[in-house]
C-alpha cells in the first residue's frame, strides 16, 4: 500500500534497516489488543474529552480568543499538550475506524485550537498575554516547546491518516513550527525546552512536509542540550538531561519520560543526518538502561521525587514509579531503534512494555488510569474520588483524571496507533514483530502485493499461525520474531516441517502459495524468573511470567489475607496453569513481632512457617486492581530452608 498515499504510521524514517507499515497496512482483527482498542475508541476518548472540558483545559483556547486568559486560565503550564495528544489519538482512531462522528469532534477541537494561534504562529495559552509571563521566559518549566511538539505530532498523525484534509491542523502546526525555527534558530534564543519532545516532532514534520528547516532545528536542539543551558534545579540538571551532551551520555538518566523522548528525537535526527556516532550513543544508552535500569515489566523510573531513573540496579518494587508515560516513551524509542537497526531485542522490550505498562494503566472500562505502576503495594489502596482530579503519584488506585494528566492521553494515542508497531518490511519481504489476530498487506519494492493473515490466541496460547493470502511466482521473505524469553522450546513449522528456533528474527524465504501456513509455536507455559544478583531490592525473590505477561500476587486471590507479604513461594514446584489461571504453591508465614526489627540471630528474624497454600492464583499484572482495593506484589519471596 505504499506509493502515493503516505504510510499511516507515527515514524517514517528516510532510511534504516526496516521500514514501518502503518494502520493502512496492518488491521487488527481480534484478541487482546482489539479489545483494548475498542475500549479506547468507545470509552476512553469520550472520557478524555469530558475531562478536558470539565477541567477547563480546552476552554483555555476559547478564553485566549476572547482575551480572558490571564485570569481565567485553568490547569498546569502544560495543559495545552493534553488537547494535542487527544487530537493525535483521535486522528489515529479516525484513520483506523473512519468514525464520522469522531471526525466531527476532531474538527471541532481543531477549530478551537486554531482560533487561538497568534498571527506569527505562536500558540500557547499560558504565556505572552497581558498578565501572563512573557513567551519563552521559563524554558525549564514552561513547557512551551513541549506543547508545540505534541501539536506537531497530532498534525503529522492527521496528515498521514487523512492526507489533504481541509481541517487546517497541518497549517497550524507548520506555522507553529516556523515560529519555533525563527525564535530558536541559529541566530535566535540559544536554549532548549525543559521537557523534550519537540525534537522528534520537528523531524516527523520535516518528513511529512519535506521542510528541511524543521530537521535542522531538531538537530540544533539535540546538539544544544547537555551544556547546562537550563538552570541547576533541586533535582540537578540530569533531570533535564542537560548535564551531559546526548552523544557523550552512556545511559538513560534523569526524568524517565524526558529521557526517552529526547533519545527518540536524537535517533530521528541521527537517522536523517546519517550521524552514526549519535545513533551509536543512543543505542548504547538504551542498551545500558535496559540491562541495569528497567523493571521486569518494562517500566522505567524508580524515583518518586523526580520521576526519574535511579542509578544502576536501583529498582525497588515498592517505590517503583514506572510512569505510564515513560512506558510510552520507551516504546517510542525502541521502535525507532528497531527501524534503524532491525535488532529484535527492541521489539522484545516493546512487547513487554505494551503488555505490562501501557496496558496496565487503563482500567478494564477505559475510564480510569494508573499514572505510576508500582510492582508492590503493601497497604490497601483507596479508590480515588471519581469527581475530582487526583494528585499523580498520590492516587493509590486508578483515577479518572489527574492534576497532571499526561498519561490518559498518552495511552489513548498509543492504543489508537498500535497496529503501526506490529510489522515492518524491507526489500526482501515482511517482518512480524508483535503477534495478534491481524491482516498485514504490503506492496513490495518491485510492485508485488503480498499479504498475510495472523491467527492466534497469543499471549495465552503460544501458537501463531500466519497464512499467506496470495500466490506469488517469485520468492519473498517472511520473518517472525522469537522473543528472548522463548529461548527454550520455540518451534517453527512451515509446510508441515517443524524445527526448533532460537531468539531473534527467523526468516523463511520462499515462493509462497495462497494458503501456505507458517506456524510459530512459542513456549508460553508459566515460568519463574530470577533477578540479577545486583538488584538488591528483590534479592531472594522470583517473579512469575507467562509469555510476555508479568504476573502478580493480589490479595483478593489469597484466602483470608489482606496482605500478600506473608506468603513465600515454593520454587520446587513450577507454576501451573489451572482453569486458565497461573497458580503457584505457597506457604503462609507468621513473622514474630519484635519491638526492634534487627535481631542478633538469623533464627530470630525467620518467620514461623504456617499452612501450605497450593494453587494460589496469580493475576496478570496489567489486570490487577480491577477488583477493588488490594495489596499486590510482583516479586515473591522464595521459601527457604530457614523459613521452611
Amino acid at each position: 500500500m505504499s506509493g502515493t498515499a503516505p504510510t499511516a504510521a507515527p515514524v517514517l524514517p528516510v532510511r534504516g534497516r526496516l521500514r514501518p507499515l502503518g494502520l493502512d497496512a496492518v488491521r487488527v482483527t481480534g484478541g487482546f489488543w482489539a479489545g483494548r482498542q475498542s475500549v479506547n475508541a468507545t470509552a476512553t476518548l469520550a472520557h478524555i474529552e469530558h475531562w478536558l472540558e470539565r477541567a477547563g483545559w480546552l476552554r483555555n483556547f476559547d478564553l485566549a480568543v476572547r482575551g480572558d486568559l490571564a485570569g481565567g486560565r485553568r490547569g498546569r503550564e502544560f495543559a495545552d499538550s493534553e488537547i494535542y495528544k487527544f487530537l493525535e489519538a483521535m486522528a489515529w482512531e479516525i484513520g483506523r475506524s473512519a468514525d464520522a462522528e469522531l471526525e466531527a469532534r476532531f474538527r471541532a477541537v481543531v477549530r478551537r485550537v486554531a482560533a487561538a494561534q497568534a498571527p506569527d504562529g505562536y500558540l500557547n495559552t499560558n504565556f505572552g498575554r497581558p498578565g501572563q509571563a512573557p513567551r519563552w521566559s521559563d524554558l525549564e518549566w514552561g513547557h512551551e516547546l513541549y506543547c508545540v511538539g505534541h501539536l506537531l505530532q497530532a498534525a503529522v498523525a492527521r496528515a498521514r491518516t487523512r492526507p489533504g484534509a481541509d481541517d487546517g491542523l497541518l497549517e497550524v502546526a507548520r506555522r507553529a513550527a516556523d515560529n519555533v525555527c525563527e525564535t530558536f534558530g541559529p541566530d535566535g534564543i540559544d536554549g532548549v525546552c525543559g521537557h523534550p519532545v519537540i525534537e522528534a516532532a520537528l523531524v516527523e514534520l520535516a518528513r511529512t512536509t519535506g521542510e528541511d528547516r524543521y530537521l535542522a532545528q531538531a538537530a540544533l536542539f539535540v546538539d544544544r542540550r547537555g551544556h547546562g543551558r537550563l538552570s541547576d534545579v533541586e533535582f540537578g540538571r540530569e533531570y533535564f538531561q542537560d548535564e551531559l551532551p546526548v552523544r557523550q551520555a552512556t545511559v538513560l538518566r534523569g526524568h524517565a519520560v524526558r529521557a526517552n523522548y529526547l533519545a527518540a528525537g536524537a535517533v530521528d535526527v541521527a537517522v536523517e543526518l546519517k550521524d552514526a556516532s549519535l545513533l551509536e550513543a543512543v543505542r548504547n544508552q538504551w542498551t545500558n538502561a535496559v540491562a541495569c535500569r528497567t523493571y521486569v515489566t518494562g517500566g522505567q523510573g524508580s524515583r518518586h521525587q523526580d520521576e526519574a531513573f535511579g542509578g544502576d540496579w536501583v529498582l525497588p518494587p515498592d517505590r517503583a514509579y514506572s510512569e505510564t508515560c515513560a512506558g510510552v516513551g520507551s516504546v517510542m524509542l525502541a521502535w525507532r531503534l528497531l527501524l534503524a537497526d532491525g535488532d529484535p531485542r527492541y521489539a522484545d522490550l516493546i512487547e513487554r512494555t505494551l503488555f505490562n505498562v501501557v496496558s496496565t494503566s487503563p482500567a478494564a472500562d477505559g475510564r480510569s488510569f494508573f499514572y505510576t505502576n508500582t510492582l508492590h503495594r503493601r497497604e490497601l489502596g483507596t479508590l480515588p474520588d471519581p469527581d475530582r482530579p487526583s494528585l499523580r503519584a498520590a492516587s493509590s488506585l486508578r483515577a479518572p483524571w489527574f492534576e497532571v494528566s499526561c498519561c490518559p492521553t498518552n495511552v489513548a494515542r498509543t492504543l489508537a496507533s498500535l497496529s503501526a508497531y506490529v510489522a515492518t518490511c524491507d526489500d526482501e519481504g515482511l517482518q512480524l514483530h508483535q503477534y495478534l489476530p491481524a491482516t498485514v498487506a504490503h506492496r513490495l519494492g518491485d510492485g508485488r502485493d503480498v499479504s498475510v493473515s495472523i491467527a492466534t490466541g497469543y499471549p495465552y496460547d503460544g501458537e501463531v499461525r500466519v497464512r499467506i493470502d496470495g500466490d506469488d511466482e517469485r520468492p519473498w521473505s517472511l520473518s517472525l520474531r522469537v522473543p528472548e524469553w522463548a529461548a527454550q522450546g520455540a518451534t517453527l513449522t512451515v509446510d508441515g516441517d517443524s524445527r526448533p528456533v532460537g531468539p531473534g528474527l527467523v526468516t523463511e524465504h520462499r515462493r509462497w502459495r495462497r494458503g501456505d501456513e507458517v506456524v510459530l509455536s512459542l513456549p508460553v507455559a508459566p515460568r519463574f524468573t530470577y533477578p540479577d544478583a545486583r538488584i538488591d531490592a528483590v534479592r531472594g525473590c522470583v517473579a512469575v511470567e507467562r509469555g510476555p505477561l508479568v504476573l502478580a500476587l493480589e490479595s483478593v486471590d489469597v484466602p483470608a489475607a489482606e496482605s500478600v507479604d506473608e506468603l513465600r513461594v515454593d520454587v520446587d514446584q513450577p507454576p501451573r496453569l489451572v482453569d486458565g489461571r497461573v497458580t503457584v504453591r505457597c506457604r503462609r508465614v507468621h513473622p514474630d513481632h519484635h519491638e526492634w526489627p534487627y535481631l542478633a540471630e538469623e533464627g530470630g528474624s525467620t518467620p514461623v512457617v504456617g499452612e501450605e497454600l497450593d494453587g494460589v492464583a496469580l493475576v496478570e499484572y496489567h489486570a490487577w486492581a480491577n477488583r477493588g482495593p488490594s495489596t499486590m506484589r510482583v516479586w515473591l519471596p522464595v521459601l527457604t530452608d530457614q523459613a521452611g
Copy 2:
C-alpha cells in the same frame, strides 16, 4: 544541684517517672562525645556563624530594622530559625564552657534579632512588611510559628544556663509567644503551623516562666492538628500530620522531622495536663515507628520525595533519607518519653541515634555535614563545592552548607546540650542512661548530695566503671541501663561480686562509700545483625554492629575495588577485631553481564564466586566518607550456597 538554680536541661517536665539532670549536674570529661563537643565548640559554631553571615540570613534582621527587607531578604522562608538554633547552640555551649568570647558573640546576635521585633511582639523577616506576604498568610509553608518555636527554645536554653542574664532574649521570646497566643488563641486564627515545633517550645517556655497561657496554647495547637486545617498538598495532609488527630494516630508518619517534633510537643502537653490518653497515643506511635519504620542506624524517613516515613517495612538502604534533623527530633521525642515512662528502650534508641545519625552528620573537622544519611552508596559521591550552599539531598558527600540548612544548627544545639541526655534522678537515686567519661552530681530530694564518676572506653570497650565519690549513711539507688543489644553476656560487678544482667535498668540500692565501684561489663564484641523478614529491601543481608555502633563496608577499605556491591560476607565466620578494627571474611563475586537482568534460571542470576578476602575492615558508620569519595553499604549480602 537542684534547688534555687534551674536545671540546665532542654526539657523540664513537672512530673514523670524520671527527672532530668542538666549540664550543671553532668560534666563530660573525655571520650567520644567530649571530642565531638570540642569540635562543635571550636569549629562548628564559628563555621555556622560564618555561613549565616555569608548567606545573608543574619543580615535579614538588620535589613528589617532598616526597612530594606522586601527586596533584599535572603534565604528560604525558614531562614530565621537557623539563627535561633544557632543561638540555642551557643547558649548551651556557654552553659557548658562559660566561654566569654562566645558570650559576646551570643549577645551580639541577640541584639540584632531583638531589634527586628515588631512592637506587638511579632518577629519574622519574611512576612508582613510592604512588598511581603501578609503575616500568617501561608500556614502550610510559611514556617512563621516554626521560627517562633526555635526562638523560644533558644530563650529557654539561655534562661536555664544563665538565669537572669540581661541580654533580653527571654523577653523577646515572651513577647513573641504572647503575640502567638493573642493571634492563635481560642478566639484567634483557627490554624496550625505546617511545621510543628511551636508546641514543644511553648510548653518549655511555660515551664520556664510559669505562664500557663503558653501551655494552653500548645495544647490548642496539638488538638487542632489532624482535622485538615492545612491544604491538601501534593504529598497529602499526612505530610503535615494533619490528616488524623494526634490522639487517633497509631504510628509516626509523614515528614519525619515534623512527625517527631509534633509528637515531642504532644508528650509535653500530655505530661503537663495529665492527659494519659494523649501520652498513650504518642507512646504507641513511637513503639510502632521503632518496630516497623526505623533504620538500623536509628534513622527515620525513607522517602526522598517528601522527606517522609515510608509505610511499615519500607526501609530501602539505597534511598534512605534518614535526615539528620529527623534523628535530632527522634532523640527529642524518645527523651521526653523516657522521662515520662522510665522505659530504658527509649534510651536505647537515643544511644543508637546519637552514635549513628547525629554524629554521622558532621565531618571529623566539624565543618561539613550530611543532610541525609543513606545506608548504601552505589556510586562514588562527589565533593560539594566548598564555596556554595549545596542542595539538600543532592549533595552526595558532606557539604559545608545547604540551601535548606536545618541540619548543621540542629547538630550543634544537640551536641552542646548532650550531657543533658545522660542521666536522670528519681526519689531513690540516680539513673545512668548513656555511658561516657563523666561526673554526675545531684542533690537528692532529702537534701543529700551524691555524686559519681564514670570511667570508660565505651563504646569501644564494654567496661563502664562507676565510682561513688562520697560516703553516705543512708542508702540510695544507682541504676544503669543494659542495652537491648547486650542481651547476652552483660555482667554487673559490685563490691567484687559479679552477676549476669539482662536488658533494662539494673538497680543497686545500698549504703555507698566513697570509692565504691560498680562495674558494668557490656559485650561489645562485633556481631552480625539480621533484619526482620518483612523488610524486603535487605532480604538476604546482614549488618555488622559493635556495641551501639553500626558498621559499614566502605570501598576505600577494599583492595582494588571501586564498588562494595561485589562482596558477599561469609557469616560462618563471626566478625573479628583486628588491630582495633572490625573485620569480616568476604568473597568477591563476579556477576555475569546480561542484556536483560531477569533470567529464566536461578543459576543465570548467580554471580561467579571469586577470590576470598579475609579481614576486610569495616568502618564505623558515623565515620564513613571522611577519606574522600567512596561507595558504602551497611547491609551486606550473605554468601549463599548458590554464590559459593
